[in-house]
């Protein structure tokens, strides 16, 4: 299974994690949609990093300033050489999001625990509510050129103009525009429902099995290559609603299929759907500009 993935070492198994539970060079990082889950029981030694309260800067609508990220790592006992293994709920949505954010700051050795919280727990492996104390580390970030893995709205305009591929990983009803114009949904809503013109819809959940682990490389190729015609030579942008589900697909395309040019558009539909004069398409087909 996972050993046929392009960068197989980036996806680690529960057995691998068990062998490294006491390894001071390995730090487990749990990132969940629901932060209380960590406190209900986490893998021994894992630290919690909250996706909305610890990685994002609430004022700039961006990720943390570099010194704050460095402090977050230092407090969590992470040095630039640490192997960071991300896992969490929802088949690792948020874990992949945290992984992607760590990559923005240039953290070298990031991995994902296949199956995340669910597979670990359901295979009877230990969880604890005990605190994880690690000695403070030194951290100096070496941020990458963000354009390598992150797209902004202007990149999306350019992508449309160039006819390059976009992957919308939301649910089919979000893609068609049927959902999101929902009344009584004030915080989640955008002004318009639909998708970026030309984007193909692959709901993120199709990349994982019921047990939370990623699908095999052949199954993933059947979806992304045979079904929607992507290939490793393309420059691809993935998006969803706020950039978290698309982090997971970014991870799949980059590390499991080995595509070198994939960007995550973290502004995603929450930005695009509200953006003045940004073209959208409605309905089930990728569509042209409306």
């Amino acid at each position: 299974m996972s050993n046929s993935h392009a960068h197989a070492d980036v996806l680690v198994t529960p057995e691998w994690v068990e062998r490294h539970l006491d390894d001071p060079n390995v730090r487990l990082i749990e990132t969940d949609e629901d932060p209380a889950l960590y406190f209900q029981g986490h893998i021994p030694g894992a630290v919690e990093i909250g996706w909305h309260n610890q990685l994002q800067d609430p004022v700039t609508r961006d990720y943390l300033p570099v010194p704050q990220f460095e402090d977050l790592c230092a407090r969590s006992g992470i040095s630039p050489e640490t192997t960071c293994v991300f896992y969490g709920d929802k088949s690792n949505w948020w874990a992949c999001y945290a992984f992607w954010v760590f990559k923005l700051y240039g953290h070298r050795d990031c991995r994902v625990l296949d199956g995340g919280y669910k597979f670990w727990r359901e295979s009877g492996r230990p969880l604890t509510t005990g605190p994880s104390k690690h000695p403070r580390a030194e951290y100096k970030a070496a941020p990458i050129d963000q354009a390598l893995i992150r797209a902004f709205r202007d990149d999306v305009f350019a992508q449309i103009d160039a006819g390059k591929p976009l992957v919308d990983v939301r649910s089919p009803r979000e893609y068609t525009g049927e959902l999101l114009h929902m009344e009584e949904y004030p915080q989640e809503g955008t002004l318009r429902g639909g998708h970026v013109p030309g984007a193909r819809n692959v709901p993120w959940g199709r990349t994982v099995r019921d047990d939370g682990r990623f699908k095999s490389v052949d199954e993933l190729k059947a979806i992304f290559e045979e079904e929607i015609g992507l290939n490793a030579g393309q420059e691809i942008i993935a998006y969803c609603r706020i950039g978290e589900r698309s982090s997971l697909v970014w991870f799949v395309l980059t590390y499991l299929l080995g595509y070198p040019h994939v960007q995550n558009y973290d502004g995603s539909w929450l930005e695009w759907g509200n953006l003045v004069r940004a073209p959208i398409a409605k309905g089930p087909s990728p569509g042209a500009i409306v």
Binding site: E33, A36, L37, F39, H52, N53, E184, Y185, Q187, I242
Partner: protein, 149 residues
Amino acid sequence: MTEKLAGLVEELQSADRQERIELLIDLARSLPKLPDHLEAHKDATHRVEECQSPVYLFIDVQNGRVVFHADAPVEAPTVRGFVALLVEGLEGANAADVAALPDDLVRRAGLLEILGMQRIAGLDAVVRRLKRTTALLTSAPGNTQSLTS
């Protein structure tokens, strides 16, 4: 709102983030199991669509009292804890107590800081669903959502 619920909300509100998370985990653990006859009705009709996590509400009004059962996943302790807060806090409540629930109950309980702006709307929808269904059942008993539907 009932005194019981107001007390629980106050307790959450005055707690710091860590204590609040622990209170929610305790509440989540205390959520009673759904009766068997409702377990079979965990379907789209009873699911709160706005919630990312599957939350099921079963609401009925019997002799002026609101009878309220709910279920939410163990893997979403904040959501489950909030639902448990409503079930526990509204035990024996009447329709007027439910009608008087503040629309910003989720924020009052301090959950915005835990779940973040992006994930809090689903819980607001739980409160709205509870209020709306109770109002509907009070004006037209047996209309929808009853325990046997």
